[in-house]
């Protein structure tokens, strides 16, 4: 945990924010130009190696960014160790489940690729 507190956590938060910003901008521009892609296009994107890597990277960035942000809020506002532990455990579980869910869906999508 010590390795992911001061400067490293701060750097991870900024780098993940950069990735999320670029991904959101790219998606926005795509939707503006091409319109909603529909299920077959999403499926093709997820089955492409670059697409699945990007989805995984964006999900990881979202979870890491969310973790550092939520941890900062907890450190600022919750001063009782028991409360901190409970809330941080809840946040970690929720973010872990989000990542796991994306991983499972992506694996299933790739497994059923023609």
């Amino acid at each position: 945990m010590r390795q992911f507190t001061g400067q490293r956590a701060w750097l991870v938060q900024r780098l993940s924010a950069l990735l999320l910003l670029c991904a959101t901008a790219a998606l926005g521009i795509y939707l503006l130009i091409e319109g909603p892609p529909g299920y077959p296009a999403w499926l093709a994107f997820a089955r492409h190696p670059a697409g699945s890597t990007l989805i995984l990277a964006v999900t990881a960035a979202l979870c890491l960014h969310g973790w550092v942000g939520a941890r900062d809020v907890v450190l600022d506002y919750l001063h009782r160790p028991a409360w901190r532990l409970c809330v941080l455990a809840l946040v970690a579980t929720a973010l872990g489940l989000v990542f796991l869910r994306v991983l499972v869906v992506l694996a299933a999508t790739l497994a059923h690729a023609p």
Partner: protein, 231 residues
């Protein structure tokens, strides 16, 4: 001129209160401190710190109409009435406008605000290039009045662990000093989730500094130095 001043004597008062004062105008009053000194003549139980009365000692830092500043360099005519005076926010109150700065100076001491150089001292002095000396401008002028730390929400939330903008400005003053040889140790000491990284870049510190310094820029530079050191 009308004043509303925070009054609290922990030995007597069950809770703080705001007391109204009406002070007849005087042509001799130029700064807020002049008016406070006259108020003190009217009511000698009113307590506040002051010393140099020219913005050098930093003793008379207080919250003036919702904004931290030094009473001695705050022009009286620029203030909206009633002038509301409170102690520095986030600091324990000793009495009226006097706050306990023990924690503040403990943080200051913790950053080792002195030159560390393990090389043998030269015969006369440790020289710097003009450029290296210029890099200290905007850092060494801090008078430790605590206006910045007292206006920083991150400092209000974690005053015992977050060093605060004043302490971090002082820390960077020695990190940036070309004559100091303890840069790596200083940076390693600051690489902590509380000491440095409680700063949320709110920048109130820079906004209220009565000496027009920029603690937020110093904090950014410490973070940059830490990032460079980690690569």
């Amino acid at each position: 001129m009308r004043f509303h001043i925070y009054r609290f004597d922990p030995d007597v008062d069950p809770r703080p209160r705001m007391q109204a004062y009406d002070l007849p105008d005087s042509p001799a009053d130029r700064m807020l401190l002049d008016a406070l000194v006259r108020l003190k003549d009217m009511d000698d139980s009113l307590s506040f710190r002051r010393s140099c009365r020219e913005g050098v000692c930093g003793s008379d830092a207080m919250n003036i109409n919702g904004r931290n500043g030094l009473a001695c360099i705050q022009p009286l005519h620029a203030l909206k009435q009633p002038v509301v005076l409170r102690p520095l926010p986030g600091f324990p109150v000793i009495r009226d406008l006097i706050v306990d700065m023990t924690q503040f100076f403990a943080h200051y001491e913790a950053v080792r605000p002195y030159l560390i150089n393990d090389q043998p001292p030269p015969e006369r002095e440790r020289l710097q290039s003009p450029q290296a000396r210029d890099s200290l401008n905007g850092l060494y002028e801090c008078i430790l009045c605590a206006c910045c730390s007292g206006f920083c929400p991150s400092y209000w939330w974690n005053p015992d662990k977050f060093i605060g903008p004043a302490g971090l400005l002082q820390a960077y003053r020695f990190i940036a000093d070309s004559r100091d040889t303890a840069t790596a140790e200083r940076l390693a000491d600051l690489d902590d989730v509380y000491k440095l990284y409680r700063c949320r870049t709110i920048m109130n510190c820079t906004e209220v500094c009565p000496k027009q310094l920029s603690p937020s820029r110093a904090i950014e530079r410490i973070r940059l130095a830490l990032t460079k050191a980690s690569i």
